[in-house]
Symmetry: C2
Subunit: 203 residues, 2 copies
DNA sequence: GCGGGAATTGACCATTTGGTCAGGATCACG
DNA sequence: CGTGATCCTGACCAAATGGTCAATTCCCGC
């Protein structure tokens, strides 16, 4: 097993360059649309050298996908069952939107993957993801039962947050085409979503 | 120019079979992930025969994309500026959700395309789409000015409708993984979205 | 500064794939 | 039925691509 510490400086640098280049490529073209040559060029390496660090194109893709779900779900994990319901949901929305803004490539990689049937993510989705959501949905249900937020379907509330926040990363070209220049999509989205969830959840 | 009427029965049938098979494939794997052979097999034809009907793989893809935007935007076009604001928005949401349910492949094809930079759709997006949205945003702004719905950013209101409805088609595997069996995602989504937009727009 | 493992590469290979083409089968129609 | 146009196919090609490998260069600890 190659541990993180056991890697030389060159290893670390080149592996990182490859993963970064690959994230660019895969998120913008999908798995099949990418060639190892492109990744190599973008990383400033030769093709055989890329294959010296990763066994195959698949392996690069997998390395990228591993851990992606963790990053993606972190904000949901951070939702505090003991906090103020309305504040917790709004905080989640804001964090998720910030994630779309700071990690649009990851968002698109994820979208590409799910869109195309989630081959590699499939099992993880049904286990980890479903479990986490079930847990959070239960928390939200409790808040509703206590009359602290308005009644809504907790699952679809979560879906709505995913859809609304990821939309700005995944459909960025469309958003920009529609808004035209001179707009800050994320700033406007922040205000809009804040208002939306305030009104939706107000008792 | 080959007009619709000038096509023989065989032409019509085979072109249709090819487009249908290609829609399956492209929506599920993206442009690069599809081979002409796969399309041919799915359509029950040989590869050269497919190329007898379409000049290239690109041509099939383009044929699919042409007209897609029209289908996609039809419900927005149907929004009646003279109607009741709240009813018009809710009707739009319902139609768009119904479209996701009845045409998930088209939704995913569109998502794939936009996600990957909208190469072919790009120009159309900036012209037709931007113009239509600008027009509808103006209508919504008027409704707000008249105090007939609550104040919201019209552009982001429209984005939210796209995001929330298309999510159920584009991320279907995720939605199903989270909900588990025994759920009717679209029925639940219909109720949820109805409530969401009622609360958002209530004066 | 040197020895050995790590890093890198040019050349190469097999397979896949988009696309062509010449000819054969089939159909519509007089 | 016959004939011309439409429809279809097997065989083929060139380019692209994932991946291999032997040989070479580089780097780091001694």
């Amino acid at each position: 097993m190659t541990t993180e510490a056991s890697r030389s400086r060159i290893q670390t640098r080149n592996r990182q360059a490859i993963l970064d280049a690959a994230l660019d490529e895969f998120s913008a073209r999908g798995f099949a649309g990418v060639t190892i040559d492109r990744i190599a060029a973008a990383a400033g390496l030769s093709k055989p050298n890329v294959l010296y660090y990763f066994a195959s194109k698949q392996a690069i893709h997998r390395a990228l996908l591993d851990g992606l779900l963790d990053l993606w779900l972190a904000p949901l994990r951070e939702m505090d069952p003991g906090g103020d319901p309305q504040h917790e949901v709004l905080a989640y929305v804001r964090k998720k939107l910030a994630l779309s803004q700071s990690h649009p490539r990851e968002s698109r990689l994820f979208a590409n993957e799910v869109l195309q049937g989630a081959g590699h993510l499939g099992p993880v989705l049904q286990e980890d993801l479903a479990a986490l959501v079930a847990d959070r949905a239960a928390v939200i249900s409790r808040w509703i039962a206590q009359g602290r937020i308005a009644p809504v379907d907790p699952h679809h509330l979560i879906f709505s947050i995913w859809a609304l926040t990821q939309h700005y990363a995944d459909f960025e070209v469309q958003v920009r085409a529609v808004l035209g220049p001179g707009h800050d999509p994320y700033a406007e989205a922040g205000a809009f979503l804040d208002m939306l969830y305030r009104r939706l959840l107000a008792v």
